[in-house]
């Protein structure tokens, strides 16, 4: 579904990712773990066009999307729930969700699922995230951090994505909410939504994922079946021994 070949990306002259290659098969949940500053967010930003890759190739369903603007990539079915949530503070919860479906509502979505039934999906989001249903007319800027996180995920899902990129959906949440977020991710996985999940909670991420990649200083240092990675002594020592 999503294939990345020798991706080089960074900020200005600073190269953060050095020839990164990975792939996310259709219907699978792949997780990308690594310590702070490893380049996880940079990877997702390059994939969704928020930054322009310096070289390498990104293929979405075999179509080359390297170097496209972020709105063009979204129109090809990539949804990105970015680091720091980035909900639209001056808009209501419902409007944030509708904007998630912008490509479908405006008919700008290339191939794949078209306009579809946005209202039905809106209802589904409110089923998955009942907290959002109670606050549908509230301004997103006045939601709690946890609620904003749910909104960011739901907004990305409203694109009806081919691939969903999730950047630390558990960041800054209380333990009970973290559990809830992972339960939601498991549910999405059961619906065979293709996902690339970036997480600090490496153990929990590997528990729910099919495959995993370990990123260190912009290079992959390990990869494999999530269960195998979880038992890898080196990975255990570096990422699973600590509190997070």
């Amino acid at each position: 579904m999503l294939k990345v070949e020798k991706l080089v990306a960074g900020y200005g002259k600073v190269e953060v990712l050095h020839e990164l290659s990975l792939s996310v098969p259709e219907g699978k949940l792949v997780t990308l773990i690594g310590s702070n500053g490893a380049g996880k967010t940079t990877t997702l930003r390059a994939l969704s066009g928020m930054i322009r890759p310096q070289s390498g190739r990104i293929l979405l369903r075999d179509a080359d999307i390297t170097g496209l603007a972020s709105h063009e990539i979204a129109r090809r079915g990539m949804a990105h729930s970015p680091e720091g949530r980035r909900v639209f503070p001056a808009l209501s919860v419902a409007d944030n969700l509708l904007l998630g479906a912008f490509t479908r509502l405006t008919g700008t979505r290339g191939r794949g699922r078209g306009r579809g039934d946005v209202q039905r999906d809106l209802g589904r989001m409110f089923d998955i995230f009942p907290r959002l249903a109670e606050r549908r007319e509230q301004l997103a800027g006045t939601l709690s951090g946890g609620e904003q996180q749910m909104l960011a995920m739901a907004r990305a899902l409203m694109l009806s994505p081919e691939v969903l990129l999730l950047d630390e959906p558990s960041m800054g949440l209380a333990p009970k909410l973290v559990e809830e977020v992972f339960a939601t991710i498991a549910r999405l996985k059961a619906q065979r939504i293709t996902m690339l999940l970036v997480e600090q909670f490496a153990a929990a991420a590997l528990d729910v994922a099919d495959f995993g990649y370990v990123l260190e200083n912009g290079r992959l240092t390990a990869s494999g079946e999530a269960a195998t990675l979880k038992n890898d002594p080196a990975v255990r020592a570096a990422y699973l021994g600590q509190a997070h």
Binding site: M50, S70, H71, F88, A90, F102, G141
Partner: protein
């Protein structure tokens, strides 16, 4: 007392015009943190194009033509003067470019329509109506209704339509808006188009009660800029209040001092704004997100 009431009423119409122009400044500032300093020229061009068209169509049918012209003119300003500056994150490129384009438009207008002020035919009777001894021109009432109507329509568009929501989303967080599939460069072009459209509309609203001509825009644009800074660049109807205060102050100055000084309050206001908020004009200090 009656004179005071008369002066206030006369100040309202021109105040609404300042409000509409300032509203136009807000539109582009919201999406791109840039302004069209040729906004006064957009008004002037709208008015002169209107003057040419009105001879063929009459006043009311001329309006859609002028609105369409304003949209186009604003899009041209964005493409030529602003886009590159935004792309390179240039702090001042757009200031120079929009001022330069404004001067070009003014020269162009002088060559096409000449330098003299011209009378703009009024669609309504030019005899004032009298309310308890206070005279009001029918056209002044149209100005107030038209100005408020235009602002409400834009606001309604932003709130109700998915494209308007995309504009607000771009204003909130441009990068995140891109992730929704919104072409944010196009949204910025559109906000420039809309901004010039409101100015062009203001131009044909005000022309029947003032005069029209190539030089009508410069002072209006500058004074409305002061109004926009005071009323708030980020959003809201503070610009209407600011516009009314300035409009009324001007008619008072014109009557009690001399009509020769009627531009002075607005320009003094501008100088005050510049000296008290020199760094905060476009910076974080003047825009607070929710």
């Amino acid at each position: 007392m009656q004179i005071l009431a008369q002066l206030i009423v006369s100040g309202i119409a021109v105040g609404m015009i300042y409000g509409v122009i300032a509203f136009g400044y807000q539109l582009t500032f919201a999406t791109s943190k840039t302004l069209n300093f040729g906004q006064g020229e957009a008004l002037m061009l709208g008015s002169l194009v209107g003057l040419t068209v009105v001879a063929f169509t009459g006043y009311w049918l001329m309006l859609p033509v002028v609105l369409a012209f304003g949209l186009l003119q604003g899009a041209v300003v964005e493409r030529l003067g602003v886009r590159q500056a935004i792309k390179t994150k240039s702090e001042s490129g757009w200031i120079m470019a929009t001022i330069a384009l404004g001067i070009i438009f003014k020269n162009l207008a002088e060559n096409i329509w000449g330098r003299d002020a011209m009378k703009f035919p009024s669609p309504l009777p030019e005899a004032p109506l009298s309310f308890a001894g206070v005279n009001v021109l029918p056209m002044e009432i149209v100005i107030v209704i038209g100005a408020i109507g235009m602002m409400l329509l834009v606001e309604l568009f932003n709130r109700r339509s998915i494209f308007g929501k995309a504009v607000v989303a771009t204003a909130n967080d441009r990068e995140a808006a891109g992730l929704m599939g919104i072409n944010t460069s196009l949204v910025i072009t559109f906000s420039y188009a809309l901004s010039s459209m409101t100015a062009a509309f203001a131009g044909v609203l005000v022309a029947p009660v003032t005069l029209t001509g190539a030089s009508m825009g410069s002072a209006l644009g500058l004074k409305a800029f002061a109004v926009a800074i005071i009323g708030g660049l980020s959003s809201g109807f503070g610009v209407v209040v600011g516009g009314l205060i300035l409009g009324i102050t001007e008619t008072l100055t014109g009557y009690y001092l001399s009509t020769g000084y009627k531009d002075v309050p607005g320009l003094v206001l501008l100088l005050l704004v510049l000296s008290f908020k020199p760094s905060g004009l476009f910076g974080r200090a003047s825009i607070k997100k929710v």
